[in-house]
């Protein structure tokens, strides 16, 4: 094998290693070959004396990858660091988390109070309507057909509004119940993990 063959073969075998390390070692071996040739040793013999290409390539591969693994950061150390940061930062994110939860809770409670007031309105509409109707009958019987009619009309309007309110309240309530169910399902799923 010629000197050039030697170098090129090693280059090819070690092409996927960090080239700086490989170059340094190749320069060393080349120097040794050239020194022997200077002494009068024929090229082929000088190359052979330095060692077998396969053995040298295997050796360089082993040595260079040993250097590489030392430099890689420890993954376990990194995760431990992340956990430490989480604990150290807890005075920050724990109160924030509590505040966010409190805001969410108060929003939910307000939603229900709105629904309750709508239902209350519905209730009062029904009550007014019924009371008005009863009163109008009383008025009719008492001999005041005009007022009776007027009151009856007003009561009918109230009852009509009550019906609309009923459907609205029901829709709102159903929607909120479904939303609550979804939230609880998600929490149960997280707990089940």
């Amino acid at each position: 094998m010629t000197k050039l063959d030697f170098i090129m073969t090693l280059h090819k075998k070690l092409s996927d290693l960090p080239q700086e390390e490989v170059e340094e070692r190749l320069r060393f071996y080349t120097e040794m070959i050239e020194d022997r040739m200077e002494e009068g040793i024929p090229e082929e013999e000088a190359v052979a004396a330095v060692g077998s290409v396969d053995e040298i390539a295997a050796q360089i591969q082993a040595e260079v990858s040993a250097v590489k693994t030392q430099k890689e950061p420890n993954k376990k150390q990194r995760k431990g660091g992340q956990i430490a940061l989480l604990i150290l930062g807890s005075p920050l994110w724990v109160p924030l988390l509590i505040a966010a939860f409190a805001v969410g809770l108060s929003l939910y409670v307000s939603l229900w109070s709105v629904i309750i007031s709508f239902w209350a309105a519905f209730g009062s509409m029904v009550a007014c309507g019924v009371a008005g109707l009863v009163a109008s009958i009383g008025m009719a019987l008492g001999g005041d057909p005009m007022s009776s009619l007027a009151l009856a009309g007003a009561s009918a309007v109230c009852l009509g509004l009550a019906i609309f309110l009923f459907f609205g309240c029901k829709a709102l309530t159903d929607a909120t119940v479904r939303l609550t169910a979804k939230l609880f399902q998600r929490r149960k799923k997280e707990e089940a993990k």
Binding site: R25, M32, D35, G51, E55
Partner: protein
């Protein structure tokens, strides 16, 4: 020779080869050849190790139209040679003890 023993000796051998004057790779191998066979790859590792331990310095110089690396010993390297000599005085004493013919307690 026992391989562990050899490994410890080779570092000092290389230092001894450069203790009087700076030398280069092939010359070191030639100088040590009567005493111990040294391959190029082994020498490379030893030179790297000694350089990392500050026991030698490396200098590139031009020679015959090409570049050659010269290795020169440092004070730390010289100190290592002295330590080696002292270690071996102790080993010699042990050697004499081990090979001593007949011991006093045999005589009953």
């Amino acid at each position: 020779m026992d391989i562990q023993l050899k490994r410890g000796l080779l570092d000092v051998c290389v230092l001894a080869a450069i203790k009087d004057e700076a030398s280069y790779g092939y010359k070191i191998i030639k100088d040590l050849n009567p005493y111990v066979a040294l391959s190029e790859s082994t020498l490379y590792t030893i030179l790297k190790r000694l350089e990392a331990a500050n026991m030698l310095t490396v200098r590139t110089a031009e020679h015959g139209g090409r570049l050659r690396k010269y290795y020169r010993i440092t004070p730390e390297g010289s100190k290592r040679i002295e330590e080696f000599k002292e270690e071996w005085n102790e080993i010699l004493a042990i050697y004499r003890f081990v090979t001593k013919e007949g011991s006093d307690y045999d005589k009953a």
